[in-house]
Symmetry: C3
Subunit: 172 residues, 3 copies
């Protein structure tokens, strides 16, 4: 059975989204793909469409780049699973609009106890390279690390994915 | 006993090559060092020579920057082991010459069932920092992630090395 | 009981320092916070002061940006623990002054057998991103990887922290 809250961490092209998808599909019931990406041009719209078809008929899609807490609360279901892909894009959207990241993180975690069903978050680990020269990149790296720590502390299961393979950081 | 195909993943200066070397030497029989680096100047030739002497008499060396599949097939031996160091340099060589990376990856994996003996691949994990500003670096990061995922899926054993120490991602 | 030497590795904002602090506090006795950061302006002095208050009365603080080996030897105590935060800043201080890093690393490790009590080192893993374009950053990355490998080889316990959660790389 899926934990109430699962966090799948990994690098770029680490296979973390695919792993999260397999995890969601290991359960019976409907799967809801919660996209935080903003569709900014036609090329991206085409790509998103392709991914949607790839996931197949068991999946429905919800798109919300900013108000993750309220929307997540409204889409979570007891007999299925929500896969939020991904927290890093959500963070990027928040920062672009000067939202308060700490407040938004708190609001997200506050929804966890009352969610109707399980949720799987996908997030990028971005802090294992050299210090970025760009100040915004440094701030993003700090915020992403704090966000991952906060969600990991509230989650019941945390996995780190490398080359498509998971290492367990926390288990129920 | 060594798995037919092992993948050793790790960061820069993580000790992944040295770990792979120890793994190879833990078996009886000859060890073949398969270098994918291209020797571009005298300084590099000297460095390569030094490493060769370091490995000692049990090792022989094969150099092939591009045609990894065909050469690997021809050098693999039942009573020894081949250590390919490393996949990331091979990828870099392929990209520099505009080879089709997906095709080359497929050709490499297609050799696995018919290899005469065990092979250990060393590869860099490069996707755990901030998104690079340079477009070619972003493409390289994507291709490296995909290559690592594909080899990891086909391998029987995968280890992630940090500070010279392995974490098992997949075991036979 | 704490191992004589523990190394806590992790990325930026991975929660590695906090994890190391909890580890130190899991033992009875006094805790010594060994800061390698150099205080360069008032803002930083304020931040350091805040952290000191956060740690609470069980902690005392030692500041030494360069001569880690000698100072560590003199502050280690049998009935408490020293937490060195962090090796990466120490390396950065050494490199800025053109000290010999290999020599300094050796001197540090040479103190281990005679330390009066346990020590926990915190260090950054910085080698898991794309190759930096900046030559100094590349050199720093190489030196940091070598330093982490050397300390990990000499330590009895090594943990890799991601999102505040540890994975064991080496246990006594």
């Amino acid at each position: 059975m899926l934990a109430p809250v699962t966090l799948i961490l990994g690098g770029a092209r680490s296979g973390k989204s695919r792993y999260a998808q397999h995890l969601a599909e290991s359960q019976p019931g409907p799967c809801i793909y919660f996209a935080t990406a903003e569709i900014r041009d036609e090329e991206m719209a085409d790509r998103v469409d392709l991914h949607r078809k790839d996931r197949g008929p068991r999946w429905s899609t919800v798109e919300e780049p900013l108000d993750l807490p309220v929307t997540l609360h409204s889409v979570a279901i007891a007999d299925g699973v929500v896969l939020v892909d991904c927290l890093t894009l959500w963070l990027s959207n928040l920062m672009e609009r000067d939202h308060d990241v700490a407040e938004a993180t708190e609001a997200l975690i506050a929804t966890f106890p009352a969610l109707a069903g399980p949720v799987i978050f996908v997030s990028n680990e971005v802090g294992l390279g050299i210090v970025p020269e760009n100040a915004l990149a440094r701030r993003f790296r700090d915020e992403a690390g704090r966000l991952n720590q906060a969600i990991a502390a509230a989650a019941q299961r945390v996995e780190f994915v490398a080359a498509g393979l998971p290492m367990t950081l926390k288990a129920p």
